[in-house]
Amino acid sequence: MSGFLEWATHGVKRGRLEFRSRPMVVLTVIVVVLALVAAVYLMLVSRTAAQGRRIEQLQTEIFRLQRENEQLTVEIAEVTSVLQLKERAAALGFATPERLEFLSISE
């Protein structure tokens, strides 16, 4: 060891890195599984969020259509109200019959 290296490392020798194949395989598998779980989790969360947004939009649309339907129902009822029908019938020249006759059917 040169003088500089000894000064820099305080004379501590660099250890030799030894790989043991079995623990490394286990560690790699764990990392890969965890990564897969995380990916699946993220995918599910994002899909759930997207579906949640879609449901919210559909609910908003339901409420909008509900309002539209109710309003149209009232408007239809207004133009077919008794008062309106009376006025329109009178304008068309119809009149309330003053007398009715019931004819009996003899056998």
């Binding site: 305080h10 759930t48 919210e56 009822a77 008794v82 008062l83 019959p97 059917i105």
Partner: protein
């Protein structure tokens, strides 16, 4: 390795390990020991309970499905001044749509709270039409929002207003709206979850829970065509006979379902705030909430009771001396007439007060009041309308109010107060072979999931035998054909009884004003409708036979036409206008 570096390395490792231990300890404290505290703190900041959009109130339809009460859409215009970028420009744009002064709007949009900061929320306009609301939304002004609101609307306006009642955005009042409010009004649904700064749900998870359901829809027994013709006839009667107010009820005797019910003066339920200052406010339904002394129409109850109890027969004769003493009080006939020998049937045909009092004394107080209560007087009928009153019936056990003379006066409808509906129910009981059912207005309920509940008739009491009911009906036909002839309907046999009732005032009765009423049914022998006419203080004539009776006739003619009821024994072949 030299001793010095080894020691420094050990020291460094110890320090780092200590830091790691401290960090882990803090993590354990935050994540495990104080977990609840921090979780609650976080939730407080971003979890909110939001009331979901309110679904509509249940609608009310007539028996043919015609809408009587529905839901229109209005918009409230709201703003968050703190989020509005250009207050001047926003006010100018809003003014062009809302037709409000731009300066006023700008002042609103620039308003500040007590701390001098721009307000977080203001309401620019309480309620604008759907079109205006949509125009404001289209402007897309940042910080300005439109909030949809439901507004109860009544497309037929005044039609059946007393029966329907009215509703604010929160509650129904009077009539069907009041009685069925809990059913009509939808349950508010709250959603609890994460929200953004504008309190809009953040869909990190699907919105779970119940979707808001609309209120229950109601289908009435009321027929709007019948209702309209009855209202027109009541208006005509009030004008023709110069009456102050009036009520008409049309009921089916087979089911006791109310086909039409109207009172004047009435109101437009959509414009109810306009009537709040009137005295009295016209919201109460006089048909169920106002009581009156019925007068001679009540004699049908007395005669029915006496015949059913068997104390007399239709042809039993009594001698009418023009007066009778009951409980120490002399009771006279109208105009103090003396009739001599009269049959029980004549008591109704001639409308004899003395004869009625004679019958009630023959019955005795216990039996007489048992029948009176059996016909439904002195208690609410149980009709599904808000605000029904029981009327006023003093019984012998009410020692503070009842006097022995009441037995005589009650027999011809004095000293007893009834509602128009009670009187109609009594007549319907006679028309329905003596069986009293519970009157009702709603015949079907349709829930938001489409399930339908149909009204089942409620049998109350077999008040009189069917044979007695038939006998009373025959006498009432004679009343129309021989007495109140203005109630006759060409081609049909109808039954009925007039009543000209005095109006009680402190210390006695009003010297001039009367209440004219008529209750009848037809066609006999298979009655399809019972009709009650009540006219308050008619000025053209004090007698019901000249006011209420002809009104009854006119209504019956139209009812038979509209409902397609041919004359008894005939078959409808054709309708020919003259």
């Amino acid at each position: 390795m030299a001793e010095g570096p080894r020691r420094r390395l050990a020291l460094l490792i110890t320090l780092l390990a200590g830091c790691a231990v401290l960090t882990v300890a803090q993590l354990i404290k935050v994540q495990i020991v104080d977990h609840r505290f921090y979780a609650h703190w976080a939730e407080e900041q971003w979890i909110r309970a939001i009331r979901m959009d309110q679904p509509p109130r249940g609608v009310i339809r007539d028996r043919d499905g015609c809408l009587l009460a529905g839901n229109g859409v209005r918009y409230a215009i709201e703003a968050s001044p703190a989020y509005v970028i250009d207050h001047h420009e926003a006010a100018k744009e809003l003014a062009s749509v809302l037709h409000m002064p731009a300066s006023h709007l700008e002042a609103q949009l620039s308003s500040r709270d007590d701390n001098g900061e721009l307000r977080k929320w203001i309401r620019v306009s309480q309620s604008v039409s759907k079109e205006v609301g949509e125009q404001v939304a289209d402007l897309k002004i940042r910080g300005v929002t439109v909030k949809p609101l439901w507004r109860r609307e009544y497309p037929e306006r005044h039609l059946a207003s007393h029966t329907l009642g009215f509703a604010t955005s929160e509650t129904g009042y009077y009539g069907v709206e009041g009685f069925y409010d809990a059913m009509l009004q939808p349950e508010p649904v709250e959603w609890v979850g994460p929200v953004d700064v504008a309190s809009a749900p953040v869909p990190w998870e699907p919105i779970a829970g119940e979707f808001p359901r609309r209120g229950v829809d109601l289908e009435l027994t009321v027929d709007r065509t019948v209702q309209a013709l009855v209202e027109a006839e009541l208006e005509r009667a009030l004008q023709e006979y110069q009456a102050a107010s009036g009520t008409i009820i049309v009921m089916e005797p087979e089911t006791f379902g109310i086909l039409a019910m109207t009172s004047l003066p009435s109101y437009d339920p959509e414009e109810y705030p306009r009537f709040l200052d009137e005295d009295p406010v016209p919201f109460e339904d006089p048909a169920v909430s106002k009581q009156y002394e019925p007068g001679s129409v009540f004699k049908m109850v007395t005669v029915a009771a006496a015949l059913d109890a068997g104390v007399v027969r239709e042809d039993s004769v009594y001698h009418d001396e023009g007066w009778i003493e009951v409980g120490g009080q002399a009771i006279h006939n109208s105009m103090r007439k003396v009739y001599g020998d009269q049959s029980v049937a004549d008591i109704l045909v001639e409308s004899l007060n003395v004869g009625s009092a004679w019958l009630s004394t023959r019955l005795g107080a216990d039996l007489f009041y048992e029948y009176v209560q059996g016909f439904g007087f002195g208690d609410v009928t149980g009709v599904d309308l808000a605000g029904e009153v029981p009327g006023q019936l003093w019984l012998p056990e009410d020692i503070e109010h009842w006097h022995p003379s009441n037995l005589g006066t009650n027999a011809f409808g004095q000293g007893i107060a009834v509602t128009p509906l009670q009187m109609t129910v009594a007549a319907a009981t006679v028309a329905n072979d003596g069986a009293r059912l519970r009157p009702h207005v709603v015949r079907r309920r349709i829930a938001s999931d489409g399930s339908v509940s149909t009204y089942q008739a409620v049998f109350e009491e077999q008040v009189i035998d069917p044979e007695t009911a038939q006998t009373v009906t025959d006498i009432l036909v004679r009343v129309v054909e021989e007495g109140a002839t203005e109630a006759k309907v060409a081609g049909y046999r109808v039954a009925g009884k007039t009543g000209t009732a005095q109006i009680p005032i402190p210390g006695g009765y009003h010297p001039e004003d009367t209440i004219a009423n008529f209750v009848g049914f037809g066609p006999v022998p298979d009655p399809k409708v019972v009709v009650l006419i009540k006219l308050d203080r008619p000025q053209s004539s004090e007698w019901a036979s000249h006011t209420a009776a002809p009104t009854f006739s006119r209504i019956m003619v139209q009812l038979f036409t509209v409902l397609g009821i041919p004359p008894a024994g005939g078959e409808l072949a054709a309708e020919v206008g003259s």
